[in-house]
């Protein structure tokens, strides 16, 4: 089996699962309990927080554990809107965001907020000039993803951060779910106020995640209850999940030190190999692209068909993003990039992890070629 759908989710590291099981079975106390079992659990939680903060080069008090990317994005966006609705009712985002940002924005629109969706160029990138001209007096939040989940385009987060130094009152949220471990992001220097990450995208477990909230920045909570996570995220803490995520993050960042070079090599091998296949068009740009995603279309073959054909060979890839692929509509990102609808309907996404080897890439390429040949015979 060759698993090339790591942007959908990754396989948890064994060490991560071990930690999860140990914490769940031995330290199951509630961190809020006053007795020693509670103290142990709280210690584990604060150590997890410390480790995550250290790896992200921020303070422990700036890390809030969540249930994943969707929650982090919702909390940052709606929490800001709720708290600052009297200051302004305008938010800016891009037109290629993950549904957890997009839909949160749409929900706010129904509540009377105004949203500007910035267009992207044919590489999937927004322009900082567009962003600046979209800024209004009543703009309260800008939310831009770091790496696009469908094609892998890297957005100009640093430039936006620089620009926003001129606009100190506007808050800046970055959805870094796809970029963590692959593209460095300086939260402190980059003037980022909120940043969401998700554990299962880097070999942690589903249902774990964290939101970075810059010191001194406030949010309205979305969950009411026992005031855990410094009142911002009520609900008994997922201690085992947080510990597992802290470990997964440490392991991933260590692997990235040497793994990124190999990942880039595999990506360019795949890119070159795919280009040689007749009728393949690659959508992932050459520049400003993450090292782990390649999105391409095999002209005339519906993506679903191609994916099932690859599946028979034991190769696992995605149509577009896993989250929206159930809707069976072509990739929003590709359409926004100006890719024609028929071509977008054939789009396939390969996404790598540091666990993928060069041999796997070679085998996968052969698989792509074979499938392409077979399908073309049948479909044409």
């Amino acid at each position: 089996m060759i698993y090339l759908d790591n942007s959908a989710t990754t396989k948890p590291f064994k060490e991560v699962l071990d930690s999860f099981v140990t914490v769940s079975s031995e330290y199951y106390g509630n961190p809020s309990s006053l007795h020693n079992m509670g103290a142990q659990a709280e210690k584990l939680l604060s150590q997890a927080r410390e480790q995550v903060s250290k790896l992200l080069k921020v303070k422990p008090s700036e890390i809030y554990f969540t249930s994943g990317g969707t929650e982090g994005n919702n909390l940052a966006i709606k929490g800001t809107a709720l708290l600052h609705k009297n200051k302004g009712r305008h938010l800016i985002t891009s037109s290629v965001e993950h549904p957890s940002v997009r839909s949160a924005m749409e929900q706010l629109e129904q509540e009377g907020f105004e949203i500007t969706y910035l267009p992207v160029d044919r590489y999937g990138r927004i322009s900082v000039a567009d962003l600046e001209s979209a800024i209004r007096k009543d703009t309260i939040l800008i939310s831009i993803m770091h790496v696009n989940n469908e094609v892998g385009t890297v957005q100009p987060i640093e430039e936006i951060g620089d620009l926003l130094k001129k606009y100190p009152t506007i808050l800046f949220h970055v959805d870094a779910v796809q970029s963590i471990g692959k593209i460095p992001l300086l939260l402190k220097e980059g003037r980022v106020d909120f940043c969401s990450i998700s554990g299962h995208k880097f070999h942690g477990l589903k249902g774990t995640g964290a939101l970075y909230i810059r010191e001194g920045t406030r949010l309205a909570p979305l969950f009411s209850g026992g005031n855990q996570e410094r009142k911002l995220r009520s609900g008994t803490e997922n201690v085992a999940g947080a510990v597992a995520m802290a470990k997964a993050l440490r392991m991933t960042l260590t692997k990235a030190e040497t793994g990124l070079v190999r990942m880039k090599k595999i990506q360019s091998m795949l890119r070159n190999g795919l280009t040689e296949i007749e009728d393949v068009q690659i959508h992932t740009p050459h520049e400003h692209a993450a090292p782990h995603i390649i999105n391409f279309s095999l002209k005339g073959i519906k993506s679903e068909v191609f994916i099932h054909s690859l599946e028979q060979k034991g190769i696992y890839v995605s149509t577009t993003s896993a989250c929206s692929s159930k809707k069976k509509s072509p990739s929003k990102t590709l359409l926004e990039m100006g890719v024609p609808e028929t071509l977008a309907e054939s789009a396939v996404r390969i996404s790598l992890s540091f666990e993928n080897s060069i041999e796997e890439a070679i085998t996968a390429l052969e698989g792509f070629k074979e499938s392409a040949d077979q399908l073309r015979k049948v479909m044409k």
Binding site: S19, T22, V23, L34, N36, G38, A39, E42, K43, L44, Q47, A48, E50, Q51, S61, V243, A246, K247, R250
Partner: protein, 401 residues
């Protein structure tokens, strides 16, 4: 241009006459502790200067550490140049060039502690200044408010060049003023008091009163975490944990409720003083701030302080709570102090404690019972732990992370 060393200027140490060596040694120890994460760094201490030789370690990171060390007035990253006019010219030019941006001004501050050098300070000024002006087009002189101040120090062994003077934390090296015992409750004030005393060179050992089951393990945890923060300043901190349950219960039985707080403080002070004697301290530090709570009125202090004539240092005595909180935030202890566990001060608080207790009355109430054996027992039962700043104390869990 890569800096090769950092030159450290002493603060008040320079005025300390015959004790100077002791001060320099203490400062050297502080610097060594703070720079422990940089194994290649070497520290050379001289009578009026200290040098940190970087040996390839990152200058910026070393600077971050030095900024927090007490006893340093200022410091400058510097380049060492062989004695000789040509070498001096070349290195000066390289250094200024690396910093110069269009239209900037400069001046030279020469200093010549070794008079045998061929040029005097005026000569250095003219020669080097002229050389820089010739070789960097656009560079101008401004002696009042220059963008670049090139300091040239001619010493016997070499010449040192630096362009940047970074303000140090000031104060005196920790340990240079002797040892004192800190009464550490777990609240916001006592860690701040410790920090301020340390800034004036006091070596601090902490005393904490632990009354299980009235105060929990988690309160103790909290105090250990605070100690870890304070330990960052000097590498480690001794924490004495006093079993206090017996005394608290006895006070409840023996002393009228509205005087129980006054009496409790007196007992704490007596015990702390005994521990101070045992560990050869010279003073006791508290986080008291005048009028903040019932035990911190002048009347209370008058009634409580009677039990000892050891100096009691109260660094926060005239400070407002908001200012104390600000410092707690800066030294990163506020968050820990805010954890909501009962401690020795919050438990057994009478509903209306005396804000103006009378000495004679508390003496009278205490006279019916001999507390001495209990105090002795508490001192005997005191557990002393040495707290280190690093995370490794979590080691029971380390394999989980």
């Amino acid at each position: 241009m890569e800096y090769e060393r950092i030159l450290i200027r002493y603060g008040e140490i320079s005025t300390k006459g015959r004790n100077r060596n002791k001060f320099v040694d203490k400062l050297k120890k502080s610097v060594r502790i703070a720079l422990a994460p940089f194994p290649n760094v070497k520290v050379e201490a001289g009578r009026d200067r200290m040098y940190v030789l970087l040996n390839g370690e990152a200058c910026e990171e070393v600077i971050d550490k030095l900024e927090n060390i007490f006893g340093i007035q200022s410091f400058s990253p510097a380049i060492k140049v062989e004695r000789g006019l040509e070498e001096l010219k070349q290195s000066s030019l390289e250094l200024v060039r690396s910093l110069y941006r269009d239209g900037q001004t400069f001046k030279i501050t020469p200093k010549r502690s070794d008079k045998s050098f061929e040029l005097d300070t005026d000569g250095i000024n003219h020669t080097i200044g002229g050389y820089l002006l010739q070789n960097i087009p656009g560079l101008k002189v401004n002696v009042k408010n220059p963008d670049i101040n090139l300091r040239i120090e001619v010493r016997k062994e070499a010449i040192y060049l630096s362009c940047q003077t970074i303000q140090g934390a000031g104060g005196l090296p920790v340990g240079s003023s002797g040892k004192a015992m800190l009464m550490l409750s777990g609240g916001i004030d006592s860690p701040v008091a410790a920090y301020m005393a340390m800034k004036r060179g006091v070596e601090v050992e902490a005393v904490h009163f632990f009354s299980p089951p009235f105060t929990s393990e988690r309160a103790k945890e909290k105090v250990i975490d605070l100690s870890k923060k304070l330990a960052e300043i000097y590498g480690s901190l001794k924490l004495h944990i006093v079993p206090f349950t017996n005394i608290q219960q006895t006070i409840r039985e023996q002393i009228p409720e509205n005087y129980s707080m006054t009496s409790t403080r007196r007992m704490m002070l007596r015990i702390t003083d005994e521990i101070r004697k045992k560990h050869e301290g010279l003073a006791i530090i508290t986080g008291e701030s005048l009028g903040q709570v019932a035990s911190q009125t002048l009347e209370s202090m008058f009634a409580i302080n009677e039990v000892t004539n050891t100096p009691i240092l109260r660094p926060l005595i005239t400070m407002d709570k908001t200012d104390i909180i600000k410092i707690a935030q800066e030294i990163d202890t506020l968050e820990i102090s805010n954890r909501p566990f009962e401690d020795c001060c919050t438990i057994f608080v009478p509903s209306s404690p005396k804000t103006k207790p009378k000495r004679e009355k508390v003496q009278h109430f205490e006279s019916f019972f001999d507390f001495e054996p209990l105090i002795h027992e508490a001192v005997q039962g005191t557990e002393t732990i040495v707290v280190k700043p690093d995370q490794k104390q979590h080691s029971e869990f380390s394999e989980l992370f």
